[in-house]
Amino acid sequence: MKKSLITVVLLASLILVVFANGVLAQDGPIKIGAVNPLGDVTGAQSTNAMELAVEEINAEGGLLGREVELIVIDSELRPEKGASAIERLATSDEVDFFVGGMASGVHMAQVPVLKRYEKITIWAGAASHQVENAVGADADWYFHLHPWDYQQGASYGYGWKDIAEQNPDIEIDKFFLAYEEGAFGTDSYQSYVEYFEDAQAGEGPYAGLMEGLEGVSFKSAATGGGDYRAMLRQAIDYDPDIFVWAGYDADAIPMLAQARELGFQPPLYVGAPPGWPANFGDSPLAENVVLYGMWAPSLNEVSPIAKHFWDGYIEMHGHEPATYFAPLGYTNIHFLAEGIKHAGTIEKEALIEALREIEYDTALGTTLSISPSRVISNQGFSEQKILQWQDGTQHVIWPFDVSTSEIVYPYDF
């Protein structure tokens, strides 16, 4: 009798412990694991923006009555660090979701680890189509926000067509692409060559727009170069309607200075680096330079959510966001939160369905909704914006529904 009583008490205790753990797990925070390169301005500001989003969500009572916890690990822009960060977040921190990050090279190393755990992942950056191929068509748990490289190139074609249609003075036939000789630049050039071939066949986003293309490589200052004069002289000889350079932030001002020195003044001078140098807008050389990007501070004039993000970021961190990865990081967290609210659960299948259904107005001035891209089924944004530096401010030129200024044409120094 005594023995069976003890057994009953032990069993009851065990059940209580299991039950209590279950309740505690339910009441514990929803954990979001982020991997960003904290030493780089893109990763640092994206993380700052994620923290802001989490603070806002928690201030409104969290999600499903639970607090949201953000756990951030630095990828140091190194593939092996990025991959081990995912491993640690999954095993040691036991996060519910993965968010991040940037740099395709780092993300390529993370994809196999993400596939091992198959947790819902919403990735902000890493735009190479090679990442998309690595993720594959079956990963229904994987959501990608940044437009893929081929989507970006296509959107510029549509953008320039719209701009040329609206402004009859603008003639865009001859393209000159200056590209850095690494993977980023040569991939860009390859895309342009494909667009040109399609355009010649009367197809694709550049059909009726791109009648000539010349591409010349240069060695980026970021990799030990910085003398662009030989390339610029070839551009002068070609006399393009639009000059586009695909390099890094370190190339921006020296290339402009050398263009001025050689008297090279194309009607449209376009920069397409992943980031811009500090205080680029303050340089007199920046005036009327066109750039491609996802966001500009001037969006505050036309988008209340962009303004809300801007004010909140400055209040929390004491400085202005300088890269579009800041509003993208903010969007990353809020989009997940909207999905959870819509699903009413963090259960995987229901949440995937919810994330596919919602439409979320973002701080990037664009509404985010999920649709399939070439390979994956959950792609977020599909187009970039065409911006222009005017009086030290980045203005949105296209899409017209969020434009903050008309294009200044031709480029003139």
């Binding site: 490589s217 921006a252 020296p254 200075a257 205080n279 007199p284």
Partner: protein, 307 residues
């Protein structure tokens, strides 16, 4: 005429022919190469001094240049000091930084073998890079002064004028250094220490002071060159790194202690680089010039040693 002199004459003859052909084919490439080559020679000079006199291979060479660039940038942004004017204070500030690092670290590995010196200077390089990253992050910074984009025009021929400053500075620095080494008592001491440190010590030359002076002077010179090149480049924590590599190539080509050879090597490689860059579609091959030369020189020296 010795065998060496004969070779030098043959080399100079081919160099002259090469320059004339390039000048006729692509005069811009010739001028770009002359300008950039002079800069490469200037930056390689302190490395050659340290190697030739102190027998130290300074892997932190490029990072001292980077520090000089950031100091000059700070002076421009915060105090409005023109980069060319800032060359003077940056020189003295880098001399002080050089003196501190020499006293704390470098003097302890003099004569301790090349491996220890390499490890130490590599460590210094890492520390400097990380300090720069912490203070200024990895975002590139630039200084714009209108005169750095000025040009001279002769009919249809237009060329930037600022980088001629590199050529003038290179000629001036090399001449002054030559005069200093040949004509002053300290210069002759430095020369003697570079030739035979033990012999120099025996005849009463303060070898330790000479080493200290040469190290500080080398780092200080990098400060001057950093300030002069600031308006033409982007600065970020790894800016100096490629200049280190090119400097090693130049020193290898010119030969240890051959200060004059550095100038010839710099201009030759600069023109070679500019020529490759001027060929459409082949710009990416320009690094081949520097590192191809480095490989050939090392192989030739090994073959010579084997004989």
């Amino acid at each position: 005429m010795t065998n060496n002199q004969k070779w030098i004459r043959i080399l100079l003859f081919f160099l002259t022919v090469f320059v004339i052909i390039i000048g006729l084919w692509e005069p811009h490439a010739l001028i770009f190469g002359l300008q950039r080559g002079s800069l490469y020679a200037l930056i390689a000079l302190p490395l050659a001094l340290l190697l030739g006199i102190m027998d130290i291979l300074n892997l932190a060479h490029g990072e001292f240049l980077t520090v000089g660039l950031y100091i000059s940038y700070l002076l421009f942004v915060n105090l409005g000091v023109d980069p060319l004017v800032s060359a003077i204070p940056v020189f003295f500030l880098l001399v002080i930084i050089g003196a501190i690092i020499y006293q704390l670290a470098i003097k302890r590995v003099l004569g301790a073998g090349h491996l220890n010196q390499l490890l130490l200077t590599f460590g210094i390089s890492m520390v400097l890079i990380e300090i720069v990253k912490i203070i200024w992050t990895t975002r590139p910074r630039n200084v714009y002064v209108p005169y750095a984009s000025s040009a001279v025009t002769f009919g249809d021929f237009r060329i930037g004028s600022y980088e001629f400053l590199y050529v003038i500075l290179a000629v001036a620095v090399f001449l002054l250094l030559r005069l200093f080494l040949k004509k002053t008592r300290l210069g002759q001491s430095i020369y003697a220490v570079g030739q035979n440190p033990k012999g120099a010590e025996i005849v009463g030359i303060n070898v330790k002071f000479v080493y200290f002076f040469v190290f500080c002077l080398s780092i200080g010179l990098l400060g001057i060159f950093a300030a002069v090149m600031l308006p033409r480049i982007s600065i970020f924590p790894l800016t100096g790194n490629p200049f280190s590599l090119k400097s090693f190539a130049l020193v290898a080509m010119a030969g240890l202690g051959n200060i004059g050879g550095i100038m010839i090597a710099g201009v030759t490689l600069g023109i070679g680089e500019a020529v490759i860059q001027a060929i459409p579609g082949y710009a990416g091959w320009s690094d081949l010039i520097f590192f191809g030369v480095l490989i050939i020189v090392i192989m030739a020296k090994n073959l010579q040693g084997a004989k």
